[in-house]
Amino acid sequence: MAWLQQTMEHGRPVCAAAGYGRAIVDDAAWIAVAQQLASGQGSMLGLWGDGECVHLCVLQEPLIGILTHACPSRRFPAIGGLYPPALRLERAIHDLYGLEPVASPDRRAWLDHGRWGVHQPLGRNQAAAADGAPYAFHAAEGPPMHLIPVGPVHAGIIEPGHFRFTANGETIVRLEQRLGYVHKGIERIMRGATLEAAARVAGRVSGDSTVAYALAFARAVEAALGVMAPPRADWLRAVMAELERIANHLGDIGAICNDAAFALIHAHCGVLREEVLRAAETCFGHRLMMDRIVPGGISADLQPHAADALHTLIDSIGQRFPELVELYDRTASLQDRTVATGILKPALVRHYGAGGFVGRASGRAFDARKAPGYPPYADLTFDVPVREQGDVDARVWIRIEELRQSLSLLAQLLAQLPRGVVRLPPLPLARHGAEGLAVVEGFRGDILAWVRLNGDGTVAHSHLRDPSWFQWPLLEAAIEGNIVADFPLCNKSFNCSYSGHDL
């Protein structure tokens, strides 16, 4: 029997919501789970607090379970020492909720920069100074080493974060990230919000994944309420999700080439991306399709002429994209930059449970559309591309191949679009404390959404875990031994979300 199932059965079961269970476990079981994860048995899908407890969501295929550690003394055993992917999440739990990971090897604050004017805003919520706390970066030692601090304001049009490079000449010996600059307090804003308002916030956790986040949130709420969106809504949600994936992959492929000083592909990808956004506007009335997915369905059916616009788009990209791929493949100066640059080892990817192109370029095939899966993907045919090289080039190729799959998915979706309503009549009121979980595949990887609802139809608690949590730390590993000038290229090939991570 799977260890996860055993652990769940030994624990005290609470709320078996549709598709997953949650059980309260003791200290020993909590540590035992971390040992299983550390030994490669399963991966962590999320680790978060709710003020009273911490929850650890684990995937041991095909099972997903949530293990809960109650924290009446406001403490829980840290697992970050055994299992480093948990480190930053534990630090974030401490910053926000004041629940202390006991014996954590890294006790530095993570999201709390000492600027909020409060401590533990979702816990004790005590007034505090707001003049900024010092941060102890890891020391760099030895005479040839020098430090290059970068950010939070970067040179390009990108999100803010701080990177500290220790370099030996041109070679990067260590990168240390400091994030949290765009922390907006999303979990607190969600508390007590109506479903409608909360869905809008969920769609703004990471703007480039607005569709995927709105979908994850809606599915989690639907699971909590025990309802299902109408079939046509499921299919149109998938149309939006695939459009979002295509648009982002085009943007990324272009931007990676641009960072290797090859502007031609960037220019052409920019044109194709614009066509996708215009088609999205024609079909759904918003270029990024924000606020179109709501709990219970979608806010409006396709606009007139939508199908034509989508067919034109599929043809247009289908015709012009292969030329760009060929150009990428045949340009030696470009390959020289991307091949064997920023290699990420498959073992690390498995350990961190990294998803998306970061995971798939290093051998990890997980795709939430396949397993655990959600409608309508079981009715569609598509492959999940996987490569082993783990370099910038492999991350480009995964995007190229996924884009082709998404074009095919779009065509299949349009050909078989069911008829009917796109939104449930008013949603039922939740049973007080009803919980729901959803895992959705965004363009960047799997997004986890967990909600607990109040009886009056508002959100009691929600946690949205961005794929970047398990990708950012790996960028630190992938860049080691590369030259400083290749950092933008590596960083772009990861394209982690700052906003999604900082919450």
């Binding site: 765009v182 922390h183 920019g270 044109v271 906003s499």
Partner: protein, 175 residues
């Protein structure tokens, strides 16, 4: 690559006609520029983008300004890498408390004369993040704002209108 280049040469350009600058914005700006004295920028503005807490949606549309359809550079508008080279700060996001100091410092590092454009509903009024313990609020709560562009995110056309308004005013004030 040669065929791709050749095709692009033979094709009509994709670039679309410029939108007209937003009238309301123009009037307000003219006011602000006159009071600010004589500004001699020519038809060229260097823009430094600062994400002060955005969800990154605004950044996507700002990026789009550089694509062939909008081709920002034809107006003499271009993005620069350092605030020290900038005439305009284009700021997005509700200003988070963790980014406040960085924004203030970026503004201080920008030489006079300088303008600030707040892009997006968050930058204009904090958007859905209003009231959060982690956000200061709109950009205007931290540094003086000359133009605010609505939208979540503002479309590239809306961004272009706002920026063109700035450009036309700097022209008018020069005349």
């Amino acid at each position: 690559m040669r065929t791709l280049l050749l095709k692009s040469l033979l094709q009509a350009p994709l670039t679309e006609p410029a939108p007209t600058a937003d009238d309301a914005e123009l009037d307000r700006l003219a006011q602000s520029l006159r009071s600010a004295g004589h500004r001699r920028l020519g038809r060229s503005l260097a823009i430094r983008e600062v994400d002060a807490g955005s969800c990154n949606g605004c950044e996507l549309e700002i990026h789009a300004l550089n694509n062939a359809f909008y081709d920002l550079e034809r107006f003499g508008l271009r993005f620069v890498a350092s605030p020290r080279h900038a005439d305009v700060l284009l700021v997005t996001g509700p200003v988070t408390k963790n980014m406040r100091e960085a924004l203030e410092r970026t503004w201080a590092a920008t030489p006079d004369p300088k303008w600030v454009v707040a892009a997006g509903d968050c930058a204009r009024g904090c958007g859905v993040f209003a009231g959060s313990y982690a956000c200061v609020g709109s950009v205007a709560a931290v540094i003086p704002v000359d133009v605010a562009i609505a939208g979540c995110p503002p479309t590239p056309t809306a961004l272009l209108k706002g920026l063109l308004a700035l450009l036309e005013c700097s022209d008018r004030s020069r005349a």
